[in-house]
């Protein structure tokens, strides 16, 4: 029964995702085709004056821009069903390749930030929940509230100024050193280029999970079962390890999976500030230069990415929480 309901649940989610993706693509498509950005001009830039009308028409034809949007969307959709995302106009390579390459740079960055902010935020939340009303608890709370309203790009700039400009400890930007052959780039190079953007994302990502865990911790500590546990002689850290963590960890992990969208959003900004060649930066470029195939590919990709985060969050609850797991068929 449990498996059956779980199966139904997943199928349901996937159906919803398909509807969401279709709408999202249509929306992106119409937004971009109505946007004032002329992809040809954006591509050619200042040399536009040198391009004759005939040449321009050729480029448009090459990119398929001369057909009505509906037809273009239809064709794009058909190709998509065959697994073909088209070619990026600005990179002049298949979209799938561009995304694949950038994905690895981004996943390292986002993964690092995700783990660090998750662990750090969880610990901070526990401590401030336990120390509520005391100075340490308040300090963490205020720190998080301040962070929650700090823009990512601003924090990125501050870190950049401190660590790269003043202290000169870390490189200013990019994913690898400039002017070095890609074969000569060492792992150390990649890591030093990763530190600042990862730090920016982690610092910002902490606030949400810490505040959430803090509140949950306070609720748990005020619960009836903690009262009864105390009445049976349990106290202090024993309460935390036996009942506290158990009841706080699950919502925290779930929240962390459900926060993929914030993570992605943060990465777009952080990558932009540090010119880090990840998905976020590619998204900004595709948008600014009217590279419709790439933009659509990225929209699809990020939506699927966020969807899997949310799905994992839901599944964790269903598989781990006994209240949902063992009552499986009633949900």
């Amino acid at each position: 029964m449990v498996n059956k309901s779980l199966f139904k649940f997943i199928v349901n989610k996937f159906l919803r995702m398909i509807i969401l993706l279709t709408t999202l693509c249509a929306l992106t498509f119409s937004l971009v085709s109505h946007s004032p950005i002329d992809p040809v001009q954006a591509y050619i830039g200042a040399d536009m004056m040198k391009v004759s009308h005939a040449q321009r028409e050729k480029i448009e034809e090459y990119w398929g821009l001369n057909q009505p949007p509906i037809e273009r969307f239809e064709r794009w959709g058909k190709n998509l069903l065959h697994g073909d995302l088209g070619n990026s106009m600005i990179f002049r390579r298949p979209v799938i390749q561009v995304i694949g390459e950038r994905f690895w740079a981004s996943i390292v960055l986002m993964g690092l930030a995700w783990v660090i902010s998750g662990l750090l935020g969880f610990i901070m939340g526990i401590v401030s929940g336990m120390q509520r009303g005391k100075w340490l608890g308040r300090l963490i709370k205020w720190y998080c509230l301040t962070l929650a309203s700090t823009p990512t790009f601003w924090l990125g700039l501050v870190l950049l100024i401190v660590f790269s400009v003043w202290l000169k400890w870390l490189p200013i930007g990019l994913g690898v050193p400039a002017g070095v052959l890609s074969a000569d780039v060492t792992l150390g190079d990649r890591i030093t280029h990763l530190i600042l953007p990862a730090m920016t994302l982690s610092i910002v990502g902490v606030a949400n999970i810490a505040l959430h865990t803090r509140q949950k911790m306070i609720d748990v500590m005020a619960s009836d079962y903690i009262l009864f546990a105390r009445a049976r002689g349990e106290s202090g850290l024993q309460l935390l390890f036996r009942h506290g963590l158990r009841n706080v960890a699950l919502p925290a992990i779930t929240l962390q999976f459900a926060s993929f969208s914030e993570l992605f959003g943060g990465a777009v900004l952080a990558e932009q500030v540090f010119s880090y060649p990840g998905l976020g930066q590619a998204t900004v470029q595709a948008g600014l230069r009217g590279d419709l195939p790439l933009l659509l590919g990225l929209v699809l990709f990020s939506a699927v990415f966020v969807f899997f985060g949310n799905l994992t969050a839901d599944l964790i609850y269903r598989v781990v929480d006994p209240r949902l797991k063992e009552a499986g068929d009633t949900v």
């Binding site: 009836d224 079962y225 009864f228 009445a231 049976r232 002689g233 036996r242 009841n247 006994p322």
Partner: protein, 326 residues
């Protein structure tokens, strides 16, 4: 929390013969510090000048309406009041002062709590594991199996999570968790809320059984009929204090043996009696006045009543807090 104690003050307040004193609470007050708008503080007294006593082999029911602060009495005895609570007065357990250190040492072992509902169990922990955490001495697993056998709980029940327990089973699990260390003083806080009459009787029988083995049971309840089913003594709790302590047997007839106007009215209000409700409401802690707190609802009120809070006095093998007790 602070408990002031002067050994010379100690006077036995036992009522009824034959009981060895297990628990003596005298002049207990519990207040909360509240922060109002800005930094203004106010102290809210929730329990004031409360006296009760309990011997081994005895069931004392503390009866009062819901939300009147009865649970705080249980928490004060166990020493698990919230941090912003201030506690004064003295609590003696086995004729020795129950200091916070001693409370910490003996709660869960000598003194225990039987809670109200399955919400008092960790929702994410299997039942048997939870019962085992309470064990202080010996092999927890054996102790848990033994207590489960005593309360007729199968091993399968132990593998369940709290939300899966049926009403009756939850009751028995809660009692097992509470008494697994052979506690002497058992505080049952509303142990029969909205249960099927059969389960209520079963639960009360379990409590009775424990007193037969020499425990003292303090049964906190809002339901006087539940209390009368099993208790030896009844303490009537009104607006944060006990207004009457009486042998359960005094609840009979028209209530002529009862001492306090409120207790009489309570008895009269039962369906099996006149079913006449008592007009008015209990005052909330924020509105406690100087004089008798029952005064606004009392038919026998005089000017003396509103002037000063009546003190607890002995009357016919019971105690009462009323200027005009009969």
């Amino acid at each position: 929390m602070t408990i002031e104690y002067n050994p010379d003050d100690f006077k036995s307040t036992e009522i009824g013969p034959g009981y060895k004193s297990l628990l003596e609470v005298s002049d207990l007050s519990v207040s909360f510090v509240q922060y109002q708008k800005g930094l203004r503080q106010r102290v809210l007294k929730v329990i004031s000048n409360l006296d009760i006593s309990l011997g081994s082999g005895e069931i004392l029911a503390v009866v009062g309406s819901s939300g009147s602060g009865k649970s705080l009495l249980a928490h004060a005895i166990l020493g698990i009041l919230p941090n912003n609570a201030i506690c004064s007065g003295k609590i003696l357990y086995k004729n020795e002062l129950l200091t916070p250190e001693r409370q910490k040492k003996i709660r869960g072992s000598e003194i225990t709590l039987v809670p109200q509902s399955v919400n008092f169990l960790d929702p994410l922990m299997r039942v048997s594991a939870q019962v085992r955490t309470a064990v202080r001495q010996g092999n927890p697993e054996e102790a848990q199996k033994k207590i489960f056998r005593r309360y007729d709980l199968s091993e399968g029940v132990g593998n369940q999570y709290p939300f899966q327990l049926s009403g009756g089973m939850a009751r028995r699990v809660l009692i097992s968790a509470a008494v697994i260390n052979g506690s002497k003083l058992i505080i049952a806080d509303e142990p029969t809320p909205g249960l099927h009459p059969e389960i209520v009787t079963e639960t009360l029988n379990h409590l009775r059984e424990l007193t037969d083995e020499g425990c003292g049971v303090m049964l906190i309840t809002h339901d006087i009929s539940t209390a009368l089913q099993v208790a030896d003594k009844i303490a009537v709790f009104y607006a944060g204090t006990t207004i009457e302590i009486t042998p359960a047997a005094d609840f009979h007839g028209q209530g002529q043996a009862l001492r306090h106007p409120y207790t009489k009215a309570l008895w009269q209000s039962l369906p099996q009696n006149d079913f006449t409700p008592i007009p008015g409401f209990q005052p909330l802690p924020a509105n406690f006045s100087e004089g008798c707190l029952f005064a606004p609802r009392c038919g026998k009120i005089t000017s003396e009543c509103t002037g000063s809070l009546p003190v607890m006095q002995d009357l016919r093998s019971g105690k009462v807090r009323c200027h005009h007790a009969t």
